[in-house]
Symmetry: C2
Subunit: 550 residues, 2 copies
């Protein structure tokens, strides 16, 4: 046998399958478990996100309790309990003990989770670092008992391994899920902490009540600020604009539709029977042909025809934005500033996925004057704490010309400087994160453009406020000059006009004061809390400015 054959044989021997659990075990930083501090936040985040999603989906006002306890140096017990709908007994093992398992991946609807990785990754991390299984108690109705599971993940099989399974008759809650796990974790009260995560969470989820117990026993209660859940987002079908050939071919194989035109109008969003017929005609295929019989070349032509067709944009009731009012309220609650503005863009589309950008800005007050503006980021109401520099949000904020709005910015590029906080929120049926840890949004041009437009609108409102403030300061300076010189002018005028000095002085002061008040009144309309009205009143040449920026 030649040397090469031996090489190929030897190299062949090492080939084997890699389980997804093993892959993420070795790459745990991809899931947000880089270090004990970040890992603790990630575990809390995955559990709380799931609780919020479940409550929202079941239309229950969330009441979530998070509790941390330090058992040993760097060993933490994490308990998260919700009043959600609970999880049916038979589903519990897979939901917690299998990576890439869930209900959110295959549907097009806005939710916090989307990958089917989060909570099972936390379980994986827990057993990797402490070797302990996790404990889950879930109850789906006050009329039924709760179920308790103790389980871990068999990483070679990526499957749950149930160690104990019991009926709990005396569960303290009527419905909901309580999970408990031990992890290697470190509690630090820094800008990256579970506390920061939960307080940002409270801003964007004002309908949730969250109770947090820190390892030292300190309790923080985030009270419910509104008693209504947001409008439930609707699940949508894929839109032809976002489809790729490979996906179309798979959909053709899997569809239950009997004919091609039926497939097009049933399985896609915004394709009417008439457009379906037209697409088939353009693609030169029989509208009645069986979807399974469509060849690759047919599919290629169908795809081109679909994408060239004049179809409506996808419906946007699959999105559930927070709204300008709620963003303003959240900002005011969290940040003491002198000026606030918010902007919710209309929904639009990237790769066929509907999305919407919301932005907010706060200026002055207690925001530190030194250093860069603080950028606060959210995706589907979830705060993003890490990977700031890798995020589309940051890129968009850096590309805005902030000098135009009266802020410092070195070299006309980059994060502006000064007492400013900028909030960006993306809602979408599918947020393109840069990694499985879901900490940064990938830089799709359509997304960056929308973020820029939203942030620029807030910037314009801030700019008007700042220039009004500057003008008022200038005018006040002039007023003082008038007051100072009025007596002399009055004396001179009195000599020329034969009027009394006191009368002329009074007249001058009245004139000036009236003017001053008018100016001040103008200014007041741009004052904190009334940004929207001011914006509505003053119609800026927005479009021109926006296109310049691009």
């Amino acid at each position: 046998m030649t040397e090469e054959v031996i090489a190929a044989e030897k190299m062949g021997e090492g080939l084997k399958e890699i389980s997804i659990s093993e892959f993420f075990e070795k790459n745990r930083h991809l899931l947000g478990f880089d270090n004990p501090q970040k890992a603790l936040i990630t575990v809390v985040k995955e559990a709380v996100d799931n609780s919020l999603d479940a409550c929202e989906e079941a239309r229950i006002l969330p009441d979530i309790k998070v509790s941390l306890k330090e058992l040993n140096e760097n060993i933490m017990r994490v308990i998260v309990e919700d009043n959600g709908p609970g999880i049916m007994k038979e589903h519990i093992p897979n939901v917690f003990g299998k990576l890439l398992y869930g209900s959110k991946f295959h549907r097009l609807r806005q939710s916090r989770g989307q990958q089917g990785i989060g909570i099972s990754a936390a379980v994986l991390y827990s057993q990797l670092t402490t070797g302990k299984p996790i404990n889950i108690i879930s109850r789906i109705s006050p009329k039924r008992p709760a179920h308790e599971y103790t389980l871990r993940i068999d990483t070679l099989k990526n499957a749950p391994e149930v160690l104990a399974d019991a009926v709990v008759e005396d569960a303290k809650f009527e419905h909901g899920t309580k999970i408990e796990m031990e992890i290697e974790g470190k509690y630090i009260r820094s800008k990256h902490s579970p506390l920061e995560y939960l307080s940002q969470c409270a801003i964007m989820n004002p309908f949730a009540k969250i109770t947090f117990k820190e390892p030292d026993g300190t309790k923080t209660l985030y009270e419910r600020a509104v008693n209504e859940l947001p409008k439930p987002p609707i699940e949508i079908k894929p839109h032809p604009k976002g489809i790729e050939l490979g996906i179309l071919i798979r959909m053709l194989k899997k569809t239950s539709a009997r004919g091609l035109s039926g497939f097009l109008s049933n399985d896609f969003s915004r394709v009417s029977p008439a457009s379906a017929e037209e697409i088939c005609k353009k693609a030169k295929v029989d509208p009645k042909m069986k979807p399974a019989d469509v060849t690759r070349d047919d599919a290629d032509r169908i795809l081109r025809a679909m994408q060239a067709a004049n179809l409506m944009a996808p419906p946007t009731n699959c999105l559930s934005p927070v709204g300008e009012e709620a963003i303003m309220a959240g900002l005011k609650k969290e940040i003491k500033a002198e000026f606030y503005a918010a902007n919710s863009r209309t929904p639009t589309v990237y790769r066929g996925y509907p999305f919407q950008i919301e932005a907010g800005i706060a200026y002055g007050g207690e925001i530190p004057v030194e250093g860069n503006a603080k950028v606060i980021r959210f995706a589907n109401r979830v705060p993003l704490l890490y990977e700031l520099s890798a995020c589309a949000t940051t890129q968009a904020v850096e590309e805005v010309n902030w000098k135009r709005y009266g802020l410092d910015q070195s070299g006309g590029k980059g994060i502006p400087k000064g007492p400013v906080a900028i909030v960006v929120h993306m809602v979408s049926v599918w947020v393109p994160f840069t990694s499985e840890s879901k900490e940064a949004i990938a830089s799709y041009p359509e997304i960056i453009d929308e973020i820029k437009l939203a942030v620029q609108e807030c910037g314009r409102q801030l700019g008007r406020y700042l220039s009004g403030k500057r003008r008022a300061a200038e005018r006040e300076g002039k007023m003082r000059a008038i007051e100072k010189y009025a007596p002399e002018i009055a004396a001179a005028l009195a000599e020329l006009t034969d009027e009394k000095v006191s009368d002329i002085t009074k007249l001058i002061n009245n004139l000036a004061t009236k003017k001053f008040h008018t100016v001040n009144k103008d200014l007041m309309e741009d004052a904190p809390g009334e940004g929207e009205e001011a914006a509505a009143a003053e119609e800026a040449p927005a479009e021109t400015e926006e296109s310049e920026e691009k």
Copy 2:
């Protein structure tokens, strides 16, 4: 049934398994397929990396041909052919048609690939965007025929689907692999292009011959610069310092060792039978106990004892660095500059994985003076083109105080400005990338520290060169002043001393010239190409400086 039960049931219905192929299909930006331009580079990169790995492993000097052809607008045919060992027929379908399959994931040895995702991800992208299967011809010996496969991935099963399989009697190559696929791709000759990728590749792989044919027919040949392969890296066993409890527990279950102390000394690196006995004693477990009988609590104590034990650092012959000389040569070949320096650190460890950082710097010459320094990044000899800002490399370079070395840096932080190129190379048995696309290195503190130290050493050499250059310029100014005023001084001296004016002038000039030459000679020793010697001659108080920087 209560409303909650209905909610739980309804939510349970949607639960299902997500295939890894589907996951990456939807998240294709995680794999580097964000857009047609990047996707083209990624496909070329995955294929070339595999070819280089296979050749190196089989000890064959690589000869790789890459050819691109535009078939339609944004549709590219990519052909990559190597003279490697070939792949045995029975392994071909899984290697190309299954994600998370390979030989590199489970072993601790430096290689370009490590995840078992790369090339199958390219196949996935190809079929997603063009619907076409891919074609592979591989031959393992001149004495045997080649085999040809046409296949695609069944994404629901994450398994290869072979469409055609044939014996090729008249293959044009004696051994090697040729792959051909059609993808949605865009060829742009920018700083992010296959050309840039291959030319950086040539810097760090001077033993490879690479031929590249661009879509317009332009051919570029990267000739072999050295005729010897780097020393083959050795596979190592895991080191106790990098082990986590979950992994120890799994290893205990899987080991073929009969007793605990045998397991410790056989399955780990740097654990001698004596240390194994000692670890067992400290952990209060019987060294003869069966590994399978070890409980979680035993394992916990064993792990602590292992990590507290005084063991040698892992062997570093698993690493194959490029070396200072090769980095200097690569820099000189690629970048016309006036000064070069390089530094290879000694190997060290993060999470038990050996790694080593190498750095280089080039200054002046044809490097543009305007703007920031260019940071050129490599991991296991593979150029990293994207995600600059998310990379540990960038963070480390930004944290260095470059002003100390005579470079501009705004605010004493950030990438330095001016005509500088900085090269950083990390070699490791496991590079922690920030995503599956392997474009940026995760920010482990140990890695950042090493990068800083390597880059600082280059910075010090540059600093000496620049300050020498500045001193020389100052002295030359003084020389000119002396030359200018020498005649007058000479005249005055002549009057005072009764010597001849011409003799005194000569004396002054000689003195000055001698001094000047000495200075110039000092300077010459710091000149291009001799950085290392200068560094060795001049013992800078390196440690102090380094610890200050931390």
